[in-house]
């Protein structure tokens, strides 16, 4: 072990005399690093990307704006020196070659290395690599409670002596010892030890330091010794973990458990989340009406009450599903289950060229492809990650559900069982198309052998609700920032396209209103029906003559082979901005009302006729074709933006758009002609 003369430059004075500004948080995966970050920064953090990379950069403010510091949560890594993007980000940040957005490109003022006290030797290898960077460092020895419970005792003095910096025992989960981190950072100096750089020597150094910390640990008191688990108890715990592992990764029992867990997640996001979603929908409906009643009727009223409020509602309505999904995923991850499930899914996904890591992104994509694509960052192999990004939007997201509900209701109005079967078929078609695409891409443009999986299986433990809540908050915020602005803008544009040019009152509507006035005078009860019919006629005329209506007529020949008339073409075109607007667009085009809440509107949709007055808009063949088209087509601008951002190139977004929509077009055409 080599040593250098002690350096007394503290973190406080090294930050150009202005105090502690930026602190990097580093550690192996599964050391409780994120729990510590959340405990230190709470809700005061933001998520971005390290410039030019897909590595997520989380930074949080600790302490007040005046005397606090920015804590930078670096990706969990086993070594700084590995040829992996997360290791490269850590290397560059510690060397001052990269910075989180908004921060200066300079070395951090101090580094916190989180060490799992129960895995000391391996964690110390990373500590050694950090110490060689010559930055003020504090070591946080986490999971001390677990170490004590398993009978492991460590000498902090010995550890501190060998690493040459302060070592703090903490328990990030309970918060024990966390208060000491701030003062320790202010005292932190550049370590006065320089571990060897050569990998074998570094491993030996780490093993020796760990062995000495254990050997020189103070003897436990009689009371502590009494509380320690017996050898038999430790063996039993180990055997129990073996049995659980074997059960969770077993092809039969593991698959059954996985199916149960997946079904429970689906139930949660499509049943429980529906309650706040409906509440939000109702709230925004009422709010829109209230805003409309406050403003004088006209352009500004329509823009705000329909365009802006409708757009915001279209974004916020998905938050309950996304938050709940990531809350549950975080809980499952914390228990240790997800790592086992990844191996189970590796067996299923590997024949299609996808790794087991892809299952969380694909599962998340069933709520929304955007958080799904973002979570592909956990996939280490670039080609496998790209393949997962390309197929994630095939999974049935919540935005497709209103379309499925509408079309299956039209197809099977008297048979809910058949409608449900068609619904399940849509999910299966999406998954099947995704797997086929993965196989095709991995054998052509993303050719190459995948990296076999090697994953640490964290010990089983009780999940942290605090961490799960923060994960849900974090992911919802990312969704709001990344998708929110796009969906809002698109909703306003769509509203504008459908609202202009103004058609005004039609002759037929005027006639009906005259009849309604006469009916009121004679006391006829049909007056309100006549007025409703007049409104409907005006709305249909507006839809037909609006810019989007003209566009629908112009584009109709392109969609005719799929069985769509100009009305369905308008619905499909508008849904390229965001799928969920299809139903409200069709309601406006066909019935003149945006709402599809009452059964009457659904009846009118299913009985609506084309211009020939005979053929239904939603004929059986056209409906099946529409269903296939919506399962497969890429109709989400926000997803394309995220794909470009995550892959670093619009090339992949355009390929995604072209491939998915092309496949949807061809299959929908085949289905239409087969059914017709």
């Amino acid at each position: 072990m080599s040593t250098t003369s002690p350096v007394t430059t503290s973190a406080r004075s090294s930050a150009e005399g202005t105090g502690l500004r930026r602190v990097a948080l580093l550690g192996n995966p599964n050391t409780g690093k994120t729990t510590l970050f959340n405990r230190l920064s709470g809700l005061r953090h933001k998520t971005s990307n390290f410039p030019g990379t897909t590595q997520e950069a989380r930074s949080g403010r600790v302490g007040s704006d005046l005397d606090g510091y920015t804590l930078i949560d670096l990706p969990g890594i086993y070594s700084i020196e590995l040829d992996l993007s997360e290791s490269a980000v850590c290397r560059d940040l510690l060397a001052g070659r990269t910075a989180i957005p908004g921060q200066p490109m300079a070395e951090p003022d101090a580094v916190i290395v989180v060490v799992d006290a129960t895995n000391l030797a391996r964690n110390l290898t990373l500590v050694g690599e950090v110490l060689r960077r010559r930055l003020p460092t504090v070591i946080c020895l986490n999971m001390m409670d677990l170490a004590k419970r398993s009978g492991l005792r460590l000498s902090l003095a010995s550890l501190s002596e060998h690493v040459g910096c302060e070592v703090l025992p903490i328990c990030a989960r309970s918060g024990e010892g966390v208060d000491h981190i701030g003062p320790a950072l202010l005292r932190a100096t550049i370590p006065n030890r320089t571990p060897p750089g050569e990998v074998h020597a570094l491993e030996r150094w780490a093993a020796d330091v760990a062995a000495e910390a254990i050997a020189t640990a103070p003897a436990c008191t009689d009371e502590e010794a009494h509380a320690l688990p017996s050898e038999d108890e430790l063996l039993k715990r180990r055997a129990r973990a073996d049995r659980i592992d074997a059960m969770l990764v077993h092809p039969v029992s593991g698959t059954l458990i996985f199916a149960f867990v997946a079904a429970a997640i689906f139930w949660l996001i499509f049943s429980i989340a529906q309650i706040p979603m409906d509440a939000l929908d109702g709230l925004f409906g009422t709010f829109g009406e209230w805003v409309a009643s406050l403003l004088p009727s006209g352009f500004v009223n329509d823009l705000i009450s329909k365009g802006v409020v409708g757009g915001i509602s279209g974004v916020l309505i998905f938050i309950p599903q996304i938050a709940l999904l990531f809350f549950v995923i975080s809980l499952l991850e914390d228990t240790g289950y997800l790592a086992r499930a990844a191996f189970l899914m590796d067996r299923v996904l590997r024949p299609f060229g996808l790794p087991g890591h892809a299952f969380v992104p694909l599962l998340s994509s069933h709520a929304c492809a955007i958080p799904g694509i973002i979570s592909t960052r956990a996939i280490p192999d670039r080609r496998e990650r790209l393949a997962t990004i390309m197929v994630a939007p095939f999974m049935t997201c919540s935005a497709r559900l209103p379309v499925y509900v509408l079309v299956t209701s039209v197809l099977f109005p008297t048979s809910p069982a058949l409608a449900a079967l068609a619904f399940v078929g849509c999910y299966a078609l999406g998954i099947g198309a995704g797997l086929f695409t993965a196989l095709l891409f991995r054998r052509t443009i993303l050719k190459g052998s995948g990296r076999p999986m090697a994953l640490e299986l964290p010990s089983y433990k009780r999940p942290s609700f605090r961490t799960a809540l923060l994960a849900a908050y974090d992911r919802s915020l990312i969704f709001l920032k990344k998708a929110g602005t796009n969906i809002l803008a698109i909703s306003i544009i769509l509203w504008w396209l459908s609202a202009f040019p103004r058609t005004g009152e039609t002759a037929e509507a005027m006639d009906l209103r005259t009849q309604a006035t006469a009916a009121v005078q004679t006391g006829d009860s049909n007056a309100s029906d006549l007025l409703a019919q007049a409104d409907e006629l005006d709305a249909k005329a507006q839809a037909r003559n609006s810019l989007i209506g003209q566009l629908g007529r112009f584009a109709e020949p392109a969609f005719r082979p799929l069985g769509y008339d100009w009305q369905l073409t308008i619905g499909v075109l508008s849904s390229f901005a965001a799928r969920e607007v299809f139903v409200s667009t069709m309601a406006v085009v066909v019935t003149g009302h945006e709402s599809t809440d009452d059964d009457g509107v659904l009846d009118r949709l299913s009985s609506a006729r084309r211009d020939d007055g005979v053929t239904p808009v939603f004929s059986a063949a056209a409906s099946w074709s529409l269903l296939v088209f919506f399962v497969l087509a890429m109709q989400c601008v926000s997803t394309l933006v995220i794909t470009a951002r995550e892959t670093g190139s619009w090339k992949w977004s355009l390929l995604q758009l072209g491939w998915m929509t092309g496949l949807a077009y061809v299959l929908a055409m085949i289905v239409y002609h087969a059914m017709a």
Binding site: S79, D83, N119, R122, A207, R238, A241, D245, M453, E456
Partner: protein
């Protein structure tokens, strides 16, 4: 001994071990990237391990006896194709 050994490897494949048995890593015929990753995870030459499960996946637990290993049972899941190339004695 490196985990990327190109010479004749001693010991037997991890897949030839039985669940519950213990062994010491003596080498592996792995690609450099995989070898470096496993090494950083603690599965390094001379590491003592206990086999928890053999197959797809193979699960091993690094045991505290011996130099350069985790103090307590850190578990690592390995794809069968990786486990087949890790040699233990």
């Amino acid at each position: 001994m490196p985990l990327t050994a190109s010479h004749q490897l001693e010991g037997k494949s991890l897949l030839a071990m039985t669940a519950g048995s213990q062994g010491q890593v003596v080498g592996a015929g792995l690609e450099e990237k995989d070898a470096a990753m496993l090494r950083a995870m603690g599965l390094r030459p001379s590491a003592m391990l206990r086999v928890c499960r053999v197959g797809e996946p193979t699960i091993v637990e690094l045991v505290p006896d011996g130099p350069g290993v985790c103090r307590s049972g850190c578990r690592i899941g390995l794809a069968k194709s990786l486990a087949a190339r890790i040699r233990v004695k």
